[in-house]
Symmetry: C2
Subunit: 116 residues, 2 copies
DNA sequence: TACAATATGTCTCTTTTCGGACATATCAAG
DNA sequence: CTTGATATGTCCGAAAAGAGACATATTGTA
């Protein structure tokens, strides 16, 4: 059951924080869309649709979180992306929220008491 | 800018993992729907719609992640929830995924090499 | 006694997201 | 010379999620 739980949660992350996943992958290594799709399947067993990835990459670049350069191999073109400083800040902010959530005791009503 | 980022990410978590947020709150302290709404606003500044919370609580109970008992204060009724063992497993699995993600180096292509 | 707060529930309309098709081009292998 | 892989892009119909109203009842306060 726990394994099914895990798969479900990983899937939810990849759906709802796909931008973060993409930024993290590119942060680890400069990449282009097609490779991100292959890598995500290899690492997480999740098949991303290219119809989702390419518009996302373009919007992340428009938002200033990614920067691309064109690479040509023969006549074949790739758009290789790297994460900008702004993009790194976004990922770091994400990590910060993760860390806060791992301190579960924060949720216990220690701050301001509310009477029922 | 980082503060805006943080607010944005917290908001995304509360939207996409509202069930987890609710389970975590109830895990810290048994609660009913109305109090969850107030507590979430007090702790995170996020206003949850009761039209979203009550169906969610019912579905979490139907899924066996929550269990409720009725409490009467005068003629007023509350459905007080507590997290089941299954619900705790779900939250712990979530925490596990968070921890994995905080080890960002996992993403670097050390496992199986893919040639470009 | 009227209004705000407590308490839980449903329903509908709108907006967003998602899966999958359509589209095009290069290149390697069989 | 055709098929599969590489590579990037758009578009549309369906499905899911969202905001907000409708509904009802009790209790405390002004």
């Amino acid at each position: 059951m726990i394994k099914r739980f895990r798969e479900e949660i990983v899937l939810r992350f990849s759906r709802n924080f796909l931008d973060i996943l993409v930024l993290r992958l590119i942060q680890a290594e400069s990449m282009w869309g097609y490779k991100i799709i292959r890598k995500t399947e290899a690492l997480f067993g999740i098949k991303l649709r290219h119809g989702a990835i390419y518009p996302l990459l373009n919007s992340l670049e428009a938002a200033g979180l990614l920067q691309s350069r064109r690479e040509t191999h023969g006549k074949r073109e790739r758009k290789v992306y790297q994460v900008t400083a702004k993009g790194m800040q976004y990922v770091n902010t994400y990590y910060g929220v993760l860390k806060e959530q791992l301190q579960a005791e924060d949720l216990k009503g220690t701050k301001q008491e509310m009477q029922d």
